[in-house]
Symmetry: C2
Subunit: 246 residues, 2 copies
C-alpha cells in the first residue's frame, strides 16, 4: 500500500486543523482505506506543485494524485466501489454537495472570523507572514481587527447551524439513517474549531447538532476525537431548538 495524504499542520506537526483535510480523512476512514498523512504547511507550495493548486488535501493513491476534497470523495467512490459508499444514491449525493457548499459559504466565514488569531498563533513560524497577508487580503482588515469576539461568533454560528439542527431533529445523520459524506463535511467544519481554539467557543450539549457531533467523534474507533487539540478537545455545542416557520 502506498496511500498518502498531504494534511495541513501547525507548528506542532500533530495539530491538524484544516476542515477540508478532515473531510478527506473521515472519507478515507469511512471507506476503510489505510493511509499515512504527511504534515504540510501553507508555504510548501512546491511539494504539491503537480496538482496545479497550492492547497490541501492532496491524496497520492498508488502514484495517482487527486486534489480538492470533493474530487477526492468522488474518486474514492469510483475507485473503490466494493468499499462502503460515501454517497449511496443520487439524493445522498445531492445532500453531500449541498452541505459541503453550505459549510464553505455560510459556516466558514463565521468560523474563519472566530479563529483568525488562534490559527495565526498555532501555524509554523515560516507560515506566519503568508497567513497574515493572505487572510488580511481575504477579510480586508488586520487579523486583530477582523477576529470575531467569542459570544458574537457563538450567536452567528447558532443561527447559521439552524438547517443542520432542524435536519438532525428528524434524522440521525445528515445523510439519513447512516453517516455519509454530508456528515463528514460538517464534522470537518466543527473539528476546525475544536482543534484550533484554545478555549471552547461553544458551551452546552442539549442540541441535536451537539449530540450528533459526539456521535461523529466516536466513528471509526474515535478517530476524530483522538486527534490532538490546542485546548484538550472540548467543543460542546449549545443550540436553541429550531423554530418552525410555517
Amino acid at each position: 500500500m502506498a496511500r498518502t495524504l498531504y494534511d495541513l499542520a501547525a507548528s506542532n506537526p500533530e495539530l491538524r486543523f484544516s476542515p477540508f483535510c478532515w473531510r478527506t480523512k473521515m472519507a478515507l476512514r469511512h471507506k476503510g482505506l489505510d493511509f499515512d498523512t504527511i504534515p504540510w504547511r501553507f508555504t510548501e507550495k512546491e511539494v504539491i506543485a503537480r496538482t496545479g493548486e497550492g492547497r490541501v488535501p492532496v491524496l497520492v493513491d498508488d502514484g495517482r494524485w487527486v486534489h480538492d476534497s470533493w474530487q477526492i470523495a468522488l474518486y474514492l467512490d469510483e475507485a473503490y466501489p466494493d468499499r462502503p459508499p460515501l454517497m449511496r444514491s443520487p439524493p445522498e449525493r445531492a445532500m453531500a454537495r449541498f452541505v459541503s457548499s453550505w459549510c464553505d459559504q455560510v459556516l466558514h466565514p463565521i468560523l474563519r472570523s472566530a479563529l483568525l488569531l488562534d490559527i495565526y498563533n498555532l501555524v509554523a513560524d515560516r507560515d506566519r507572514a503568508y497567513f497574515r497577508e493572505s487572510r488580511e487580503k481575504l477579510v480586508g482588515a488586520p487579523l486583530e481587527a477582523a477576529t470575531m469576539e467569542g459570544s458574537a461568533a457563538l450567536k452567528a454560528l447558532t443561527q447559521a447551524l439552524q438547517p443542520a439542527e432542524a435536519t438532525l431533529n428528524v434524522c440521525r445523520w445528515l445523510a439519513g439513517d447512516e453517516p455519509g459524506y454530508a456528515d463528514h463535511c460538517l464534522l470537518g467544519s466543527l473539528q476546525w474549531a475544536r482543534v484550533s481554539s484554545p478555549q471552547p467557543i461553544i458551551i452546552g450539549s442539549d442540541s441535536a447538532v451537539g449530540r450528533w457531533f459526539e456521535r461523529m467523534l466516536d466513528l471509526f474507533d474515535r478517530y476524530a476525537r483522538q486527534t490532538p487539540t490546542v485546548s484538550g478537545g472540548a467543543l460542546d455545542l449549545h443550540l436553541a431548538p429550531a423554530v418552525g416557520q410555517g
Copy 2:
C-alpha cells in the same frame, strides 16, 4: 372528494404569493391529489382558529385539519403511500428538511427584505395595517427603510443561493435524479418573488439554478408557471458559477 387548502391571497384573490403555501401546492400536485384553494388573508385568523395557529397553509382533507407545510408534507406521504412519495428515502428526507430550513433561515430574510413594499402594496386593504405592524416589528424598522434595494438584494441572493447552484451543477434536482420535496421548498421561495415583484429582481438564465427553475415551472402541466403574477411572470436567475473551495 373534499380537499381544500387555505392559501394566502392578495387584494386580487388570484395572486397567491406565500412561499409556504407554494410548497404545499406543489406537494399536492406531486402526489397527484386534487384540491381546491380558498383565498385567505392575513387577518382572517378566526377562519383557521382550530389549528391553534394564525398561519397558512392549512389543509382540510376529508374533514381532517393539518397545518404547517412540513407537517402537511409528512401527512401526505403517510396518508397516501400509493401515490408518488415526496421523500423517497431517509437521505431524501434529510435533504428536504435541510433545504426547507435553509430557505427559511437564509433565503427568506433576504427575499423578505427585498419584497416588503411590493407585498404591502398588493395585500388586501384590511390586511395593510396588520402587515405593516407585524413586519416592522419583525425587521425593527419602517417598511420604507427596511426594504432592500434591488441590486443589493440580487447580490445577497446570488451569494445565498450558492449551495443550490453547486448542487444543481452535479444533480438535476435537489432531491437527486427526480424532483422531490426539497425542490418544492426552493420553488416556493423563488415563486414568492416571481408572483409579488412588479419587476424581475433577477435577470439572466445562465445558471444551474435558473435552468432548474424553468424545469420546476414546467412540472405538473406548468402549474407554477401559469399562476397569475404582478409582473407577468418573468423571474430569470443569473448566478455566477459556484467556486470550488478546496
